[in-house]
């Protein structure tokens, strides 16, 4: 009797394993996240708690910024409407947990791509939408003009749970300077404390410094030092394990950058359908079957360009025209002396 039960259970177990395998192979073609997104009717996107130029909400709750535009592009590609995004403001501390626990599906929150984050935490970085580096802001009156002039006992205000904390330690340690780290959970609190004179310097990514400077009581009394002490490639992140969703987000971002490269923008996208250049025709869905690979229709990339615009438009609208960083620096296309370079969409 026991033997029969034993045999039966092993047979059941075998079927279970087979079944698991078959669903596994089926799932490889389909994206659970995409299915759920379509069912829900909106893309769930994690953003910052307010960083002008990257992700910032106005009085009426409209989010703008280049990080926001990545999520809007994904919504345009998958749901056909760039406005169908639900934004969740997250602190630096909460962001990865929110993503791994499934509360959001894209984390587009000025997040630095590092080996340990990519490999350890169950996350996958899909690309870079802003090349940044860590810098320092000081009071103009201090006369400090380079990071070499910091002395022992300098107090440094910064954000909790960022690569900034680690870079700062590397920087001061390698120079043998003792410093006092004053670490806050929210960016607004850092700004308030620095403004009140609690710290001699404020360190974070340079784009962040430029953006936060506008929030100080007298922005013109402060200056960002020229040195950059780290590489901070910022980009969107997705959960590990859904490679199709990962591809959708990656190529939504790439589409925006490639569109700029080929001169396709939100106003001329429709006309480009009749272009002579096959690369451009592919980019606006007039040639090839690029969407099919993700389970999307063929106009997915056209919708991104029409509704959100190309990377250059997004940068101009959010970062240049707002006076945060008028100069694109490394975030210029590779063809124009920058380092923005994406694989071809074909």
């Amino acid at each position: 009797m026991f033997k029969i039960i034993k045999q039966l259970t092993s047979v059941v177990a075998m079927f279970a394993v087979l079944f698991a395998f078959s669903t596994e192979t089926m799932a490889a073609k389909k994206s659970k996240t995409l299915e759920n997104t379509k069912k829900r009717g909106f893309v769930r996107c994690g953003v910052s708690q307010g960083l002008p130029g990257f992700s910032n909400a106005d009085e009426s709750g409209n989010w703008t910024g280049i990080d926001v535009d990545v999520c809007r592009a994904v919504a345009a590609a998958t749901l056909g409407d760039a406005t169908k995004v639900k934004f969740t403001p997250l602190s630096a501390k909460e962001r990865f947990t929110a993503l791994t626990s499934g509360e959001i599906d894209i984390l587009s929150r000025n997040t630095t791509w590092t080996l340990s984050r990519d490999a350890d935490i169950g996350l996958t970085f899909v690309g870079v939408n802003f090349y940044d580096g860590q810098g320092f802001m000081v009071r103009k009156g201090s006369g400090i003009s380079s990071t070499g002039e910091f002395k022992n006992g300098t107090s440094v205000c910064t954000n909790l749970g960022t690569t900034t904390e680690l870079n700062m330690r590397d920087f001061f340690d390698s120079r043998g300077i003792s410093y006092e780290p004053v670490v806050f959970e929210k960016a607004d609190e850092v700004v308030a404390a620095y403004d009140a004179g609690r710290c001699d310097t404020y360190t974070t990514d340079k784009s962040g410094l430029a953006a936060q400077r506008t929030k100080l009581s007298a922005p013109d009394d402060h200056v960002v030092l020229p040195e950059t002490i780290s590489k901070e490639p910022l980009g969107p992140v997705v959960r590990q394990g859904d490679s199709v969703w990962e591809d959708i987000v990656r190529w939504s971002l790439n589409t925006m950058i490639e569109a700029e490269e080929y001169g396709v923008n939100s106003s001329n996208a429709d006309m480009m359908k009749t272009s002579n250049n096959p690369a451009i025709k592919r980019l606006v869905g007039a040639e090839g079957e690029l969407g099919a690979a993700f389970g999307l229709d063929n106009d997915w990339n056209l919708r991104i360009i029409k509704q959100v615009g190309n990377y250059g438009e997004s940068y101009k609208r959010n970062i240049a025209d707002t006076g945060i960083l008028p100069d694109r620096g490394p975030n210029e296309l590779w063809t124009k002396g920058g380092i923005l370079y994406v694989p071809p969409a074909r």
């Binding site: 340990s116 910091f150 006992g153 806050f184 609690r198």
Partner: protein
């Protein structure tokens, strides 16, 4: 967890933390392990809780007794104090003390000396550091004084029980506590010097004090907020305790010829304490748990250092949050155990 690509394990605790902490009671640098970073955070939490518990108890007893005063002004100001601090959310009070203090305090170069040698500035409260020589001799002398006091008290109790004679124990104890350590200076070779903070220029407009000890403004703001807030609850416990002792007890004690001080010390307080201790224990527990709001103003407590930075750098959310929860549970249970022991000690002993 496998589905989400998360792996579980505590191996990270021995890895190098590679971040610095602003304020630490033990030696710590970025090359130490995450386990040591945990210890740094834990000690900072205990420090702020310990100081706040002491201050809130002293304040609470004073305010609680003041509320029962027959003086109209004292009684009503105490009542206002309680109603004011009790009814504003703690987080707001923390922000208030921190940012108000930051705005109001002077920059280091403009600070006036308090007591000649300490400086209250926006960057912290700088006090002289003590530089000891032969510290252990001094400590032994202190210990000897305490032992002598205990012996003296027992002797005094015996004397009172057998001969009914009272000796001024308090006076003798105080003299012992002063004379013995003083002797260690005169003949024990102990010496104490003070390292006084000195102004140092960092750049054209920024200064700090060097030497001495710096208490960060974050610690001060947090202690202020926690102790003022909790003292109102302790005050209410004290008031309830004293009012809970029936009037007859006081009248009876007075009628057998005890002085008002003796009435309070020997009759009212022992009975009131039984009512006061259990709810006050709750307040101590609340205070300790509330200290985790420190993260809002950059005080490097357990939540900020371990459940904040360490969690972010390792991504071990489940492990770190469970360790943190267990730690708070342990702290709370320990405080509860101590208070229960004390409560047992003072409860009615039926013979």
């Amino acid at each position: 967890m496998d589905n989400r690509g998360i792996d579980f394990g505590f191996g990270f605790l021995s890895q190098e933390s590679s971040f610095d902490v602003q304020f630490s009671l033990i030696e710590y640098s970025g090359s130490d392990s995450y386990a040591r970073a945990f210890l740094v955070g834990l000690l900072n939490t205990l420090l702020v809780s310990f100081i706040s518990i002491i201050i809130c108890t002293i304040l609470g007893v004073i305010i609680g007794v003041a509320r029962l005063s027959s003086n109209y002004l004292i009684k009503n100001s105490a009542a206002w104090y309680v109603e004011f601090f009790r009814n504003i959310p703690l987080l707001l009070q923390i922000f208030f003390w921190y940012y108000a203090a930051l705005r109001a305090l002077p920059m280091p170069e403009k600070a006036n000396a308090w007591f000649g040698v300490t400086y209250m500035t926006v960057k912290g409260y700088y006090i002289p550091a003590m530089v000891w020589e032969n510290l252990n001799v001094f400590l032994y002398c202190g210990l000897a004084a305490i032992i002598a006091i205990i012996v003296l008290r027992n002797y005094a109790n015996k004397l009172r029980d057998i001969q009914g004679k009272q000796i001024p124990v308090l006076f003798y104890s105080a003299s012992l506590l002063i004379v013995l350590p003083l002797l260690s200076f005169l003949i024990g070779g102990v010496s104490l010097e003070f390292e006084i903070p000195e102004l140092k220029k960092l750049s054209k407009i920024s200064y700090i004090y060097e030497g001495g000890i710096s208490l960060p403004p974050e610690l001060i703001a947090l202690v202020l907020a926690l102790s003022l807030y909790t003292s109102t609850f302790v005050a209410e416990c004290v008031r309830a305790g004293i009012e809970g002792v029936s009037k007859g007890q006081k009248e009876a004690a007075a009628s057998v010829g005890l002085t008002p001080n003796q009435v309070l010390k020997l009759v009212i307080m022992p009975q009131a304490l039984r009512i006061i201790i259990p709810p006050t224990t709750n307040q101590y527990l609340n205070l300790t748990k509330n200290s985790s709001l420190a993260a809002a103003i950059a005080y490097p407590d357990l939540v900020l250092v371990f459940a904040g930075t360490a969690l972010m750098q390792t991504g071990k959310a489940i492990e770190i949050v469970s360790i943190t929860m267990l730690t708070y549970l342990t702290i709370s249970l320990t405080i509860a155990a101590i208070m229960n022991w004390y409560n047992k000690k003072i409860e009615i002993k039926e013979k």
